[in-house]
Amino acid sequence: MTALLQVNNLTKQFGHDAKALSDVGFSVQEGEFVSIIGPSGAGKSTLLRCINRMVDATSGEIMFDGVNVLNLKKKELKKVRTKIGMIFQHYNLVNRLTVIENTLHGKLGCKSTLSGVLGLYNREEKEQAMHILGLLGLDDFIYKRADQLSGGQKQRVGISRALIQNPRMLLCDEPIASLDPNSAKVIMDYLKNISVNMGITVLVNLHQVDVALKYSDKIIGINGGQVVFIGAPKHMTRADIQRIYGSEAEDLIFDAGGIHAG
């Protein structure tokens, strides 16, 4: 196993505010399922967005597949972005378009500008889209408009759009925060499946400790922009949760207690 992603001394400061991330470092192996947990405002979203440069880091180094993402020019950056899929809390689909149109959007990055502008997809791309939608159990919704779907279905379209990129890694920013427990479980199962069966690395921001404990190979806990825990779920103790969540910890330990009595 080689490290697909290596983050070193990453720091991000918005304007003159306090640092959103300070001196963050960790590594992620190919095919690993990694959860990032922490209270809101800890810097989880900022961290994910630094990795694909949706936010420009202030300093540090992010090695993805052997290149430092922070040094890339616009064109090279686009190329790297096509290798990294992103999934969002609010799905971020184009509501007026159909499920398959939204899925095919994932292909835009590796098409020429003109054919992308005109929305010309070849047969192969369409077949791939159908195949992926099938894998995510969306066969019956291919020509439905995105705004007619339930939250869980929308998120599955979000995953399809990311998968059609043939990504090496998925960045998921609170993918289940807007879903009911059942849909949340379905989505987490799909993500786990993708990591295990397709060998795609999954990096997921989570709010729920119990979910992180259940699904992850590795957990990164951050608080106030600093990494305060890195390790396998089985090594996570009550004290670690306390350190990650500070004063909020009591409720969370109660929630997580059933799964893992640290």
Binding site: K78, I84, F88, N92, L93, V94, H105, G109, C110, G116
Partner: protein, 286 residues
């Protein structure tokens, strides 16, 4: 029993009301100024009617004559100096002027509208374009035509430029506001997958706002039709407006004016019906 109690309680309230009348609107400074203004306007209006120089016109006679004129105009319309087919052709010229200026305006406004939308451009550029466009919109279309007439001469060229100019500013506002309806997250999602600006515009932004864009463009087309009629008369831009100008100013034929008015009305109604149909269809698909 309870109901009765409530009613009697209400009666009690009603009874006490006349003693200290409750005011719904507090008498603020602005309300006071509004009232004073309205009152002085009313006084001025009445005063004006008493002090007009009526020469020898008798008010009742004048009203009766006006009614007679309107009757001649609208109940005895005829075409004398133009043929029916000529008028029909001229209506198309006017429609053409409206269509051309709307089309030019729409094409330019789509591109500038993208840069005026805050979610697609920077705050600074967006504010600049919006401010500039607000200024253009503040000056009426007719004035822009007259301004361009200084360089292009009074005629169809000035009309096309002036009307396009105002249409652009109107549609930039309409389009950029529709573009801004699209959630910033959707744009970010596509950026994150490596899509380029123009791909995002054509695959996400325009599909999301196309129904609004079409309805705004139609509205502008209707406005441009009305303006094109006026321009035919005022700026010599040709079309049915010019015929109307000739009928009234040159031939002094009010019956012909009536006929032309009916023509314009018919076209306006047709446009309206068509626009309503299209919009309903869009709503169904929206």
């Amino acid at each position: 029993m309870e109901v009765n109690e409530q009613i009697s309680a209400q009666r009690q309230l009603l009874k006490t009301r006349p003693h200290n009348r409750m005011k719904v609107k507090p008498l603020t400074k602005s309300a006071f100024v509004t009232r004073i203004t309205l009152f002085s306007l009313a006084v001025l209006t009445i005063y004006a009617f008493f002090t007009f120089d009526y020469k020898d016109i008798d008010f009742v006679d004048a009203v009766l004559l006006t009614i007679a004129n309107l009757k001649a105009m609208f109940f005895e319309p005829h075409l004398k100096h133009f043929t029916f087919s000529h008028a029909f052709y001229q209506v198309f010229v006017t429609l053409g002027l409206a269509f051309l200026t709307t089309l030019f305006g729409a094409v330019i406004a789509v591109f500038l509208g993208l840069f005026a939308a805050e979610n697609l451009s920077s705050k600074w550029i967006s504010t600049m374009i919006k401010g500039f466009v607000a200024f253009i919109r503040a000056v009426p279309t007719v004035l822009w035509v007259l301004i361009f007439a200084v360089a292009a001469g009074l005629g169809s060229v000035a009309a096309v430029i002036g009307m396009t100019f105002h249409s652009v500013s109107y549609l930039i506002k309409a389009y950029s506001e529709s573009f801004e309806e699209l959630d910033k997250g959707v744009i970010e999602a596509l950026q994150a997958s490596g899509a380029s600006f123009w791909q995002i515009v054509f695959q996400a932004v325009i599909p999301s706002s196309i129904t609004y864009m079409i309805s705004w463009t139609f509205l502008r087309f209707e406005i441009n039709f009305a303006v094109a009629v006026a321009m035919g008369a005022a700026a010599g831009a040709g079309g049915i407006g010019f015929d109307m100008f000739m009928a009234s100013g040159f031939y002094l034929d009010i019956r012909e004016i009536g006929a032309i008015t009916y023509f314009i009305l018919a076209v306006a109604i047709l446009l309206e019906v068509f626009a309503t149909k299209v919009k309903r269809k869009l709503k169904v698909n929206a």
